[in-house]
Amino acid sequence: MRESGLRSFVARRLLLGIAQTVAVVLLVFALTEALPGDAAVALAGDQPDPARIAAIREAMDLDRPAYERLADWATGLLHGDFGASLASGRPVARYIADGFGPSLLLAALTLALLLPLGLGLGVLAARHEGRLLDRLVSSVTLAVYAVPEFALGVLLVTVFALKLAWFPPTAVGYGTDLLAHPAALVLPVLVLLARPVCSLSRLVRAGMIDALAAPYTAHARRYGVPGARVRYAHALPNALAPAAQQLARTVDWLLCGVIVVEALFVIPGLGTVLLNAVAERDVPVVQGLAVVFGVLTVVLNLGADVVAYRLTPRAGVAA
């Protein structure tokens, strides 16, 4: 019964994921269509000389009808062909390949540290509910939860890189091989971790407190199950489902955070590529990156939802 429920849930969720992917592709494409007036003129921006306008028109096939361009672009996407940059003429896929490494490194490091930190802090606070340690953890997580990465990052840089000189202030000069310079990664990962750790630990804390106060936990204690086992084997599983859901949400935050952190620490990842393209109005690059980010979000969300579904405790009685 549980298995078939899972299967039908995954099927429904997959359908939505596909719809979302299609919607992302359409939305991204529609944006260029939404340009007021002549798209080529609008995109040429500050340098509206006829040659450049003609070049843009040529590069984007603006003379052909929209649906044909959409069909071509979408077919290209399926084959990994994202078109070519307006600014440099290089294939968009190259941009993505170049920026992928540093971004993936940042995201993976953050996720790897996020789980133990978030769960640990949450359980710690819940165990000391109402006492000084809990109030401290709760207040700090509540406060830091709301702080934008750029503000936190700039303050950390001022203190730890400029005043104390413990870490380099930016990753300038290290290229894409960041793993060889771990000191340069400390502050960016710290900034990326701040928000997700706070929200995750708050959720785990709340879930643990509820679970520790639940009749089933009292029942396990009543029958002599040792305290640590009650906490980790019986109470904690009930706090995991919301945490897994929160991880899905974190995917969105991580993508936003990566963009900001890369800009702040001058890390040549996807975020930097995206920001440069936005500044230069390099529409094909923006479109390509948006599709990559969008699909990534859809896929990761899907995974997290399935995990959360699997973990969610169910109440009630079988018929």
Binding site: L31, P148, L152, I209, R249, L255, A315
Partner: protein, 304 residues
Amino acid sequence: MTARAPAGSRFLLGAVIVAVPLALALLGPVLAGDPGPRSVSFTLGGGHWLGTDFVGRDVWQQVLHGGRTVVLTGLAATALAYLVALPVGLVSAVTRARRLEELLMRPLDVLLAVPSLLLILLVASVFTPGAVGLALLVALVNVPDAARIVRAAAGEAAARPAVEALRMQGETWWRVAVGYVGRATVRTLAADAGVRLTGVLYLVSTAAFLGVGVAPDAADWAVMVDRNRTGLMVQPWAVVVPAVLIVALTTGTNLLFDAVLGAPSEVPRRGLWRLRLLRGWSRSSPRPFRGAAEPFLEKGRRVP
């Protein structure tokens, strides 16, 4: 306020923290005098209390002017988001027509797939939104999430026997939907509004930091942080002061709302916990747990 001691102290802490940036944001432009002549970039002293910025403007003057956009854009975006989310969520929770509910909620599910900052950057790559455009955009990315919370909170209230009893008494749709369901959800929504305002402030200032919705030399705290970074070594005040103000604004708002709405005895911790749960689901999950552990997502139907 009837809050217990920790919540009370947290309320005070939040109020104090948020008071400074809020006062500066709202009163600053009134207090600020004549901007005065420009001098050399990134200097300290020389008649400038906090030194000068990247183009030689007085930093204190910039600080006085730079909070208003963040605060006003944030408030406007939050209000706008609810203006759309409230009717959509309430109608889809109360209606018995499945089709209408799907029609209202499904498009929002799809919109949730796009990371919020990405959507803003996408639009910014094509248009050049001003402050109003930014407020609209931020409101737009908040609508799906807000509508879901309204729907979930109202859906739970609408499934209570009290609603059936009211309908049995022949009460009008309005009286049931607004008088009972609306009232029952006010607390949850107030708590959500607090969390949402914090998120909106985050998004608005981050967008400004990345150069969306503001002029490159605007008097805006987030823009100041971005543009004055190059002089961080020589003139840290031009970065640190606006950064601290933004931290104080977002942190203070969150602490304040949490203390007001989270802890008082009348709304047990459960209320906020449930809200956080709701928020936890919100990214693009298609009402995942139908008929499972969260029966309040399913409305109007009772198992025999």
